[in-house]
Each structure stands twice: as structure tokens, then as C-alpha cells.
């Protein structure tokens, strides 16, 4: 199946390994090993199958879970909002009719699709993984080729277990050095996006490498790969290693026994060869990296916590200047304001970027025995899955959060995109551990500053941004 000669990148290897058919013009039919499905981007795809009398080709390679729409408060009486309920019920029915495994809102394995995949061992190195969701890039942390697709492609994968693809370019992001205490994966990924811009990765698959990436936990690598799409990349990936294997071993859907041993032998070959060609290389020194805060309405609008809101008048291009001025106006900020002088209204912690157990432990360490600041409207913590919630509660983290004054919620996407009742009000300003600061993303006219869990926790205690490195 291999067409590429000479040294190969990790992406080259996985892509070539999955080519079912290659046309003369380079258009390929790529086999898909794992398909994750959620309620928002799938109803029209299942409807398409029904209309054409098609079946799901490989239900055993498909896993459905509800995450975007559901309320994060008590679910025992069902989903309160009618349109959301209809969409969730549609997924339940589609899963049943087409024989797909489904985690419903009362299942403790339910959670954000990108947290559930790795947690169940559904996500494996060397596989191709798709989902009708742009943050599917998360799964690349395990050395999988994982990316988001549209609903027509969801239908295509359901019907054929393949995807029509052309090879993307190879981009290497090399992150050297060791970050300062309090600086981590989220700061690394925001700094990368700030460097390359939100279209910097367009047409490319990013491989993240270097000492700082190797040093990250699997949770941290997932945070970095998760936001690849915010830099425009089709996918992001990290070569699998002992940390990846240790994370997956014993997970419910991971291989067992002899199959596990055979899998590890194969997974150990999944790394870019010496001398493999990258179309673009970007380097970042994590050793000098400060905590990063976004100031605008694009994830590329980032700056050090020690900095100030930049002046859009200094941008030469007319359309870009107008867009950034619009962003400042939307955010209610003026150029030159110190980031640490921006008062906050809401702290939101969760999402497929930062809703894992390690994120919650980081927050707990900072807020333990303290109270969230009286100037805040509220602080909300939403675990990424039912299993994350269960683990957090087993460690007593929930008690720390509640004692500090946070709301402790049921798992889901929640305010990351506000499809459920968790939304910012117009003008409310949030420090958020999510991935997008777009206009209206977290609520109509809401204002989002993207930060790490440590920065969000520190901001919760003071009501404004603080350099977590100064907390000691």
C-alpha cells in the first residue's frame, strides 16, 4: 500500500497505511478505523442513509455519545430544552436503528466525545479517527491521524467506512526547553497559534515534537493537539511512546493480551524517520514561555499575561486592521490596557481542551482552602466526562471546588459553545479554559479570554488575571 519512497513522516506512514484506492490525480480513498458520532452533526447523515436505504458499514467501529446539547444540571428528569431533547432523542434512535453503541446522558461513560474516545481506549495509535467535530484533532496526541469532518462526510464514513482525501502537507512544530512551573500545554498551544496565525496550518498536518512535547503528560498532549484546528491545521499529532501505551493499557476498548503486545510492537514503529521531509518547520522555546491570555475574538489574538492589549492602528493591511479594531470593540477593551488590569465576571473551566482529570487537579491545587473573588458573578467547573467526574470526586476535588465557591456540574461541552443553558450574558467577560474566543461563541455578545486551567484558577481568586508564576 506504500507509495511514498524514502524517509517518511509519521503522517506519511499512517496515511499510506490507510489508502484503499489512489486515483491518478492523487485523490485517495482512505480507510477509517474509528468513527465518533455526536448529536449535532449526525442527524442529517443518518437521514441520508435512510433516504437511500444504506446501512452503517461497520457499526463496531462507530461510537456515539451525547455531549453538546445537554444541560449540566440534574438530568434525572430528562433534557429540559425541547429542541435539544429532540436532537438527543434523534441520536438515541439512530444509534439503535443502525446498531451503533451509544452512551446516553445518564451513562457514567458519557462525556465530551474527545475525552470519551481516549478514556475508553477507542482512540489508538496508528489509526485513522474522524468525527463531525473540528476538535477531533485531540486524538492525534496518541499518534493517530484524527480530524474533523462535515455531516456529508459523516454520512460517507457511515456508509463506506472511508473518506475521500488528498494528502496534506507535513508541518513540524518543534517545541524545545522546559516550561516554567505554572506554564503548560495550553500556553504552548496558544503561543503556537499566536506565532503561525489562525490560518498558519491550513492544508497541513502538524507533528508536534521536541523536549517540551515529550515532557507533557498525555492530557497535556491532548490539549496541544486539540487546538491544532485553531491554527488551521487539518490534524495535529505526537509520535506515540511509553506514556501513550501506559495511558491506554487496560482501557475497555484497548486490545488485551497477545493483541496488545502485537499492537505495541507496531506502534513503536510509528515515528518520523530520520531525514523525513517537512514542508514547513516552526520552532518554539518553551523555556521562555509566559502564561498566555487571549485578548481578541480569534485564537491568534494572544499575548503574555505580563503584556498589554495591542494597538490595531499599527496594522498596515486595511481589512485586517478593521477586523482587529472590531475585535477590540466587541471585547470592550482599549489598546494599551494591561492584561492584569482586566476585570472578570465569570470563570469557566472545562471543555475537550481542558476538562480532564489533570486539569481539575491543577485547579484544585490553586484554589484549595481559598474562595473565589467576590467581584465574580460565578465560577463553573464542568468535568469532561462522567468518569472524570467520578475520579475527581474520589479524590475529593469536588469538595475543594464547592468550598471555594465554584459550581460543580455534570459532564458535557457546556459553555465552551453554549448550546445548552450554560451561556455568558451580553457583556459578561470570562476567563475560559476552552478553545474559541469567537464573537458570540460562549453566549450572545459574551466576551471570552482563553487561558490555561492554572490561569483560570488564579484569576478566580482575584477576579482578574494574575501571572501564575508569581503564586509560588
Amino acid at each position: 500500500m506504500t507509495a511514498t519512497k524514502g524517509p517518511q513522516t509519521l503522517y506519511d506512514k499512517i496515511f499510506d497505511d490507510h489508502v484503499v484506492d489512489r486515483q491518478d490525480d492523487g485523490t485517495c480513498l482512505l480507510y477509517i478505523d474509528r468513527h465518533l458520532v455526536h448529536e449535532v452533526t449526525s442527524p442529517q447523515a443518518f437521514e441520508g442513509l435512510r433516504m437511500t436505504g444504506r446501512k452503517v458499514r461497520a457499526p463496531e467501529k462507530t461510537l456515539a455519545v451525547v455531549d453538546h446539547n445537554i444541560q449540566t444540571t440534574d438530568r434525572s428528569k430528562g433534557i429540559q430544552e425541547e429542541e435539544s431533547r429532540i436532537q438527543v432523542e434523534a441520536l438515541a434512535k439512530n444509534a439503535k436503528d443502525f446498531g451503533v453503541e451509544y452512551f446516553n446522558e445518564l451513562d457514567k461513560r458519557q462525556g465530551i466525545v474527545h475525552i470519551v474516545g481516549p478514556e475508553q481506549g477507542f482512540t489508538l495509535p496508528g489509526t485513522t479517527i474522524v468525527c463531525g467535530d473540528s476538535h477531533t484533532s485531540t486524538h492525534g496526541a496518541f499518534g493517530a491521524l484524527a480530524h474533523g469532518i462535515g455531516t456529508s462526510e459523516v454520512e460517507h464514513v457511515l456508509a463506506t467506512q472511508t473518506l475521500i482525501q488528498k494528502k496534506a502537507m507535513n508541518m513540524l512544530v518543534q517545541v524545545d526547553g522546559t516550561p516554567a512551573p505554572g506554564v503548560g500545554a495550553k500556553d504552548i498551544t496558544l503561543a503556537i497559534i499566536g506565532e503561525i496565525g489562525t490560518a498558519g496550518g491550513t492544508g497541513s498536518v502538524i507533528e508536534y515534537a521536541g523536549e517540551a512535547i515529550r515532557g507533557l503528560t498525555m492530557e497535556g498532549r491532548m490539549t496541544v493537539c486539540n487546538m491544532s484546528i485553531e491554527g488551521g491545521a487539518r490534524a495535529g499529532m505526537v509520535a506515540p511512546d511509553e506514556k501513550s501505551f501506559a495511558y491506554l493499557k487496560g482501557r475497555p476498548k484497548a486490545p488485551q493480551g497477545a493483541a496488545w503486545d502485537a499492537a505495541v510492537r507496531y506502534w513503536e514503529t510509528l515515528r518520523s524517520d530520520e531525514g523525513a521531509h517537512f514542508d514547513r518547520i516552526v520552532r518554539l522555546d518553551a523555556g521562555n514561555l509566559p502564561p498566555i491570555v487571549s485578548w481578541g475574538t480569534s485564537p491568534e489574538d494572544v499575548i503574555s499575561v505580563t503584556g498589554a492589549v495591542p494597538d490595531p492602528e499599527l496594522i498596515a493591511d486595511e481589512v485586517k486592521r478593521a477586523s482587529k479594531k472590531r475585535a477590540l470593540e466587541y471585547m470592550g477593551l482599549t489598546a494599551g490596557t494591561k492584561i492584569t488590569d482586566i476585570p472578570l465576571d465569570v470563570i469557566w473551566i472545562g471543555s475537550c481542551t481542558n476538562g480532564r482529570i489533570e486539569d481539575l487537579r491543577t485547579v484544585a491545587r490553586i484554589v484549595e482552602g481559598k474562595k473565589i473573588h467576590e467581584s465574580l458573578d460565578y465560577g463553573m467547573i464542568v468535568p469532561g466526562s462522567g468518569l472524570v467526574k467520578e475520579q475527581a470526586e474520589a479524590e475529593g476535588l469536588d469538595k475543594i471546588f464547592i468550598a471555594a465557591g465554584f459550581e460543580w456540574r455534570e459532564p458535557g461541552c457546556s459553555m465552551c459553545l453554549g448550546m445548552n443553558p450554560d451561556q455568558l450574558k451580553p457583556g459578561q467577560r470570562a476567563a475560559s479554559t476552552s478553545n474559541r474566543n469567537f464573537e458570540g461563541r460562549q453566549g450572545y455578545r459574551g466576551r471570552t479570554h482563553l487561558v490555561s486551567p492554572a490561569m483560570a484558577a488564579a484569576a478566580a481568586l482575584t477576579g482578574r488575571f494574575v501571572d501564575v508564576r508569581t503564586l509560588g
Binding site: V20, Q87, I149, G150, H156
Partner: protein, 200 residues
Amino acid sequence: MQPFTTLTSTPAPLKVVNVDTDMIIPKQYLKTIKRTGLGTALFSEMRYKEDGSENPDFVLNQPAYRKAQILVAGDNFGCGSSREHAPWALLDFGIRCVISTSFADIFYNNCFKNGILPIKVTPEQLDALFDDAERGSNATLTIDLENQTIKGPDGGEIRFELDPFRKHCLLNGLDDIGLTMEKGAKIDAYEDKLKQREWA
């Protein structure tokens, strides 16, 4: 899918960079289980005021552009979420062609599945097209997919590049799934090979 051959329309200028899919169609409209009817929600937060009335400053509310079928927009159009509701909303409004210097990958892909042609041009060409578009109903563009050209109001012509397979599917309105199912034997053969990998 409706084939795309030629299209003549007044182009609407949207001079914003990084137009994201949340802007194209906000989350509250994603709860639908249908593909149709999203045209009224297109660019909702820019298009309507808080009381639901139209914002007269927004380009698609201005008389010259209310029936525009071509949108000319700033760099990196369609970034963000994978929601196909974005091209569904554009299509339902009547837009069949979007012109920009660059598009986010997933949005770009989604357009072709819905009979929408996304055209990439150079920054200089985009500036010229913005100038054309700002002339309102006095100017029209003609898109010719077969010849891969944009003809301007003053007789000027821009040639654009496009993947030949995507072009073929768009010109003929072909259904991807049908084409792939014809390769069923190759998929079967791949799956047979996969059986050697017990863990996969």
C-alpha cells in the same frame, strides 16, 4: 446535489478576515435535524439587531446585495467548527460561490458537498474584486467553472485553480457516496488485510 456550471450575480463584499463558522451560523441554529431552512439564520448576529430587526449596515441587508449569489470575503473564510450548517445556510440564502484568499480546510471541503464553489484568489485579485463588489448592482461577476474563470464587470478575467476531481463532481452534481460504493470490492479487500491486525 445541484450541478455548478456558470453563475452571474452581483457579488457582496464582506470585508472581514477570519470569518468563522460561529459567525456564519451561530450555535442556536445547530439544533435542527434538517439541512434546509437555515438561510434566515445566515450571519444572524451581524445581520439582525437585538430586537430581531435587520441591521441596515450589514452588507446582505443592503438593497444591492439582498439577492447576491456570490460572496467576496477576507482571508481565512470559514475557520472554526466543522458544522456543515455553515454551507447549508449560505446555500439556503442563495449563495453559490464564495471568493477569498484562503479557506479553512473543513469548510472548503463542506462547500463541494453542497454545490457551492469556493474560489481562492491572490490578495491583489481580492482587492480588485472588493472594488468591483462595492459598486453594488452596477457590477456583476460571471463565474465559469468549466473554464475556471471569473469575468469582471469591465471585461477583466481572473483564472483560478481547482482540484480536477472536485471540479468534475461539482460540474456534474455527483454524489460522493455513490462513487465510493462503486469501489466496494477494494474496501472489502482492505478490510480482509486488516483482519491480520487483531487489535485494529
